[in-house]
């Protein structure tokens, strides 16, 4: 399973990288962590004419806080994000999902931006980005473009990134006071992709749900936000019957894929279970969260 031939470029600046993308468009693939791309190359399923290695673009690394968001450079390694106190305190749903991504050695190289640009429908980070309403910052020849996560995932391994754009940064909203989170996942083995996963965020204000973010992974060719369930949760007090009803609403229109790891019926059933478990866990953790949004 040896990689096919390709031309290789290692730009030193973002402008240079964007220039190369503008030149090669869909004939180019961007190499960040490589943990998803290199297997595709080894299997000869991906055949780019040019590989643009962006690992030299240090300006795309880094985690900082600004304007109610945590800004995570696209090239930030997953293990760095995992060790970040800022993310642990301000974006707890992201912190909860990160240790579930593969294994340590994968997270040594894999990047936050890479995972979202690759958009595997069974990966954890796309569901987190969708549930939180993260925003993705792209750099292209004509400048910067910011996209909501809701508009980012278009199809199987397909995003709304234009061929001449580089994903530069992801902005995650800081969790509001009174927020509890849970990332639930059923996987065949520790570290595997989710058969089904749920990113859940609940904000309580005086015991009433003021905001809810629920997004699935593994139920479609893209991560799926359970907007109808979120709407029914808003304004209600947490309770087991409420979560049961939300689980039904969240899953009734799902049409999950079938594969070796689960039938469609299985995924749908498990999705409902994860909603019940996830909402309960999120509500429980919201109850222990202080006014600063930190636990």
């Amino acid at each position: 399973m040896k990689l096919p031939p390709f031309d290789y470029a290692a730009p030193k600046t973002v402008d240079e990288a964007v220039g190369l993308l503008a030149e090669y468009q869909d004939d180019a693939s961007v190499l960040a962590g490589g943990q998803s791309l290199i297997p595709l190359l080894a299997l000869r399923l991906a055949r780019p004419a040019v590989l643009i290695d962006i690992n030299g673009l240090q300006e795309l690394s880094g985690i900082s806080a600004a304007n109610g968001h945590v800004r995570v450079g696209a090239l930030t390694r997953e293990y760095v994000a995992e060790e970040s106190a800022l993310i642990a305190g301000s974006v707890p749903l992201l912190a909860a999902a990160l240790p579930l991504i593969g294994h340590e050695a994968i997270r040594s190289r894999g990047t936050i931006g890479g995972s979202l640009a690759h958009a595997d429908p069974s990966a954890e980070l796309p569901a987190v980005a969708l549930a939180l309403g993260a925003r993705l910052v792209l750099r292209g020849p004509s400048g910067e473009r910011v996209i909501d996560a809701a508009d980012w995932f278009e199809g199987y391994l397909t995003t709304s990134r234009r061929a001449d754009e580089l994903l530069a940064e992801v902005r995650f909203p800081v969790a509001a006071a009174g927020t509890g989170i849970s990332f639930q996942e059923v996987a065949r083995r520790h570290g595997d992709f989710a058969i089904v996963g749920l990113a859940a965020s609940l904000t309580l204000s005086e015991g009433v749900i003021s905001d809810a973010g629920l997004a699935f992974t593994g139920v479609s060719d893209v991560p799926v936000r359970a907007t109808a369930a979120e709407a029914m949760l808003a304004g209600e007090r947490p309770s087991a019957p409420l979560f049961e009803a939300a689980a039904a609403v969240a899953t009734e229109d799902l049409d999950p894929p079938a594969d070796l790891h689960g039938t469609a019926a299985y995924r749908k059933k498990v999705a409902a279970t994860l909603v019940r478990r996830g909402l309960q866990a999120a509500a429980d953790s919201a109850a222990t969260t202080g006014s600063t949004g930190r636990q």
Binding site: M1, L43, V186, G191, L260, H261
Partner: protein
Amino acid sequence: MAGILAERYTGASIRRSEDPRILTGAGRYVDDIKLPGMLHAAFVRSPLAHARVLSVDVSAARELPGVAAALTGADIEAMTVPGPDALSTLMGAGGPTPEFTLLATDKVRFVGDPVAIVIAESRYLAEDGCELVSVEYEDLPPVASARFALDPGSPPLFANLGDNIARPRSRNEFGDVPATFAGADRVYEFRIDVHRHQNVPMEGRGCVASYAAETGVMTVYAATQSVHVSKIAVAMRLGMEHDKIRVLAGDIGGSFGLKIGASREELAAAAAARQLGRPVKWVEDRGENLTASGQAREESFDVRAAVSDDGDLLGLDVKMVIDTGSYPGMGGMVPGIIEAMLPGPYKMTALGFESTAVTTNKPSYVAYRGPWASETFVRERALDLIARDMGLDPFEIRLRNAAPRTDPPAVMLTGRPLVGVTTIESLQRVAQLVDVAAFRRRQAEARAQGRYLGIGVATFIEAAPGPRSPDGPSGPMGMESMRLRLDEDGIVVLFTGQMPHGQSHQTTLAQIAADEFGVPFEQVRVVVGDTDLVPFGLTGGSRSATMTGGVALHGARQLRVKVLDFASHLMEASAADLQIADGRVFVRGDPDSGITVREVARQAAAGEFGAGVDADLQVEAAFDGGEGGWSGGSHCAIVEVDVETGIVAVERYVVAEDCGALINPAVVEGQVRGGVAQGIGAVLLERSAYDEAGNCQSATFMDYLVPTACDVPRIEIEHLETVPLDADVNFRGVGEGGMIVAPPTVVSAIEDALAPFGVRIYEQHLPPARILELIAAGPGEDPGGSHA
């Protein structure tokens, strides 16, 4: 003199002599071999399960810079001798012989069937070259299931066979089957399915073949379980004399039955190497290993069980269909072993067994650790299903049916005496270790809280090598040979045809020889892996503990006698008064006298002696297995099933095993645990999956899942005190047992956990989705699996 002279090493968990190189990256596996001028091979493989090959055009591949050759199936045929599969011939499989070529010429018969070989300066370039080969296929209807293969309307895979029956239905009966069933209080009928899964060693198949035109010698560096069997395979296909072939093997990264003989790919690579006059390396990648190396266990069983109202299993009548895949492998031989082992250690008095083997458009059925394992699965599942229906405890039904150890011993229906079998002891011991009563209380409390725990038990025996038979030597493939020599530097060297691939022979055999000869462990060396140096042998069938341990023991004794005879001339004492211990030869009772073994050896090599003195300190030993014996044991698992997600956790796993005398307890325990892990994998994770078109759906490690450190619990092992049968050699094999008995153990536990839902399990593969289906179906009709 009975027993081993000085039990310093045997029975102790001596640290392995293999490990210093293994732990420092100094092991030498076949992909580590680099020869001057070496080229690399890759194969063009069929994307279709069943098709005629209309044309193969390698011209574009040949033009690619760096490609040294691109050869079609026809090209390879022209360089080789057509013939049947070497392993099948060796094992005497019998049955109709399909005609086929090393690389596909007129037909492809499974997705991954090799069609052409491209040889280049690097594997990268060889794969690039493969993409330039263009093959025209004419699609044929795929035979992707045994059911279709049995249909006379299915297109035959092999024209000369005329249908897809690899071995036609044959039936044997033991005892009075009709009377037993007619007279039984109850007759149970069910169908049990075992799914396709496979060996998955961490190192795949591969070889480096190098032909020296000046001498006409072909040297093959192989990953193999027997250098001699590989040599035979190469000789047959390349039409070469045996003395013109040398097969060498270094470290081998596991096999579990896969690497026996030489595969079609290896033979094609060797033929190409001879043609090109440059060494050719072919090492399969994981995709090839998962899709083309071979698979096993796809078997179905229609079972009838005759049972008394007291829970006696009176008889079984079993109809088996085995899916042997496309090209011949081991599939045709498995039913016979299953039939022989089906009664197990139980008292039943009637057995009817019939089997049919079919060919399908899937990879060949290869040997996989305990190839006959389904006999234990079927029998233990049957007992559990009967017990559950009758409200009997699973331990009790087994204790009731196990043959007690009598003198003379009970005889299995199929002929072998159950001499020295400790089934009852192992069942009782494992029940004690687990504390079944305490578990049942915990299980009840958990159920009240909506948690589902279960306990399962299964027992087995294994002919490793089995008891002495009046027909001849014990163990598959008869006598075990060994050459032992005292080297001039005082090292006792053992030349064995064993080919360790994880079994630690270089340690265990040295332990035995060191004790028996009388030198420190470090003064023994075990030589393996060179057809020029070692006698015929094969590592497999769990034979080595008895056969090779035994020949090492007796051979070391013979060598000691010879060395003492020689030393008696040096020391002017009679051999009967001399002893060897701790590397010294001395007069009995006076250990400070005498000389070192090293000195004796030096003198033998350097001196000149008269006609009456034999200074050739070497012996050729052979061992027939002695009294042989059974291995076996009972396993018990405790699982928890999450009934909302179908995820199963194995909470506890306990083994009470009997493999006779232990050479090295740590090695034994490692073998048991590794086998159990594969059994857990088979039930919860592993399936070689095919769709109706014969496409492999488990072609990467993302889909063929093997257990990890989070899937296998601590496995508690107690070694039973065995029944010694032989004056000297009571080591018995243990390599396969874990994998044979773990699947029914785990399935039994899952069924017990799901008992409140009325679940009954008739299959071996239980992924999460299947668990939920079984729960939803409850005691009703099996709704049909989530897989074919």
